[in-house]
């Protein structure tokens, strides 16, 4: 008669176990879904931000060109968010000379998760920037003295 309560215990343990397994599956699946969707959302946003920065660089380049080598001063503010999907990102700008023109390669990158977006914009004026800029508002400035587009943090 000492095993009269065993079925209750087994029932309880099994319920707990099955519930735990189901919940673990839900958590794992949800985590994976959120991770993948998060990466896609970040990728899309970095692409859009890269395009916007490229457009502003192009605008500044046109303003610099309008002076035709004469005295000019142009400053364009670029409004960018500090974070994408709750994650900080960095901006890397490299200018590659190509004959009379050249192009600026803009690389926007997050470290966790590791997502990268690269955009190219052709400019006639050289583009310079610090080796790595943090995400956020930027300033693109052209002066007659420097004759190049300088990108700095606003």
């Amino acid at each position: 008669m000492s095993d009269r309560a065993v079925s209750v215990t087994v029932n309880y343990v099994m319920t707990i176990t099955i519930t735990a397994i189901l919940l673990s599956g839900l958590f794992i699946a949800s985590g994976s879904l959120i991770q993948s969707q998060s990466e896609r959302a970040i990728q899309d946003e970095l692409d859009v931000l890269g395009e916007r920065l490229a457009a502003d660089l192009s605008t500044a380049d046109r303003l610099a060109e309008s002076a035709d080598g004469g005295a000019a001063h142009a400053r364009v503010s670029t409004e960018l968010p500090r974070q994408v999907a709750g994650t900080a990102y960095s901006i890397e700008i490299t200018w590659i000379e190509n004959g009379e023109n050249g192009y600026a390669e803009l690389t926007l990158r997050t470290s966790d998760p590791e997502v990268e977006s690269a955009t190219r914009v052709v400019t006639t004026t050289e583009v310079t920037a610090a080796s790595k800029l943090s995400g956020g508002d930027l300033l693109i400035e052209f002066t007659a003295e420097n004759q190049r587009l300088e990108v700095t943090t606003a």
Binding site: I16, T19, A20, L23, F27, S30, G31, I34, Q37, S38, A41, I42, D44, E45, V48, L49, E51, R52, A55, D56, T59, A60, R62, L63, S66, A67, G70, A71, A72, H73, A74, R75, V76, S77, T78, E79, P81, V84, A85, G86
Partner: protein, 317 residues
Amino acid sequence: MAALNRPGTDRGQLILVTGLTIAVILVALVVLLNTVIYTENLATRGVDAGGGDAIEYRATVVGSVSELIAEENAHYDEEEPPVDGVETGIETIDETLSERHLTRGAVAETRVKDGGNSVTNGSAIIWQTDDRGFINNEETDNWTVATDVTDTERFVLTVDSVNPAAGNEEPFRLVMDDWSMEIEVAGENETDGVNVTIKNASTTAIYEYGTDEMPLEVDLVDGTIESSDPTELRTIDPVPPSSVSQIGYENGDRATGTFELRSDGTPDGTNLTEYDGRDGSDPYYTHTVERVDLVIHYETTELRYTTEATVEAGESA
């Protein structure tokens, strides 16, 4: 704590953890959704920070000032010579365009560089405002108007009256190197009519006009003489040279009238003074506008643009 450890009181912990986890998952999904909506919003927003408007403003200013220079040089006002007219016109262009851009939330400003010192003089314009003898400021009747003339746009003499010669007096004469034009009374009285004698080194031609046909308008660029009678138009032969080293009047006190000369020559500063806004009847000169240096500024919340532009006379807008 004893109460918390009663058998059966920890049964809800699994549900609690589950609930919290689902809440975290939902928050994460909301953040992601927010990011996606923001990205969509950003992606469909206009990308031009106002650069197009700034460049359009610059082009409009350059075009307007170019038209202004052409108009002022061609149709100047004696009270406001081209240089002054262009400066006034640039202020008007600035005010007009500024108001238009202000409604779009942009500050647009145009000014002449260095406070007006960047308006460069071009060809000389010489004119005489009142009817008087063809004499210079010093009341001298033999004098030089301009030298080294290579391009004359306009040279018109309007002769109102000619004094009869007394004795051996020489007639009124316009001399351009070896080309000359004499205007004198045909006889001894003013009523005897007027002879216009035009000659160069090899040819001489005489044109006769009645006194009632005065004033005579002699256009030395078109090469015509037109009297007050509109049917009386004569083509000058020999034609006046277009390029001369010296333009001068002789016996200027023998005729009265006005003249207007627009050329690239050098006005003779000893005989004419530069126009300074005075209301005088002496012959004087001023300049057309050759070039204007402008400072153009355009500013919005996202963009700040300052540039210098040079607009030259004859430059196409």
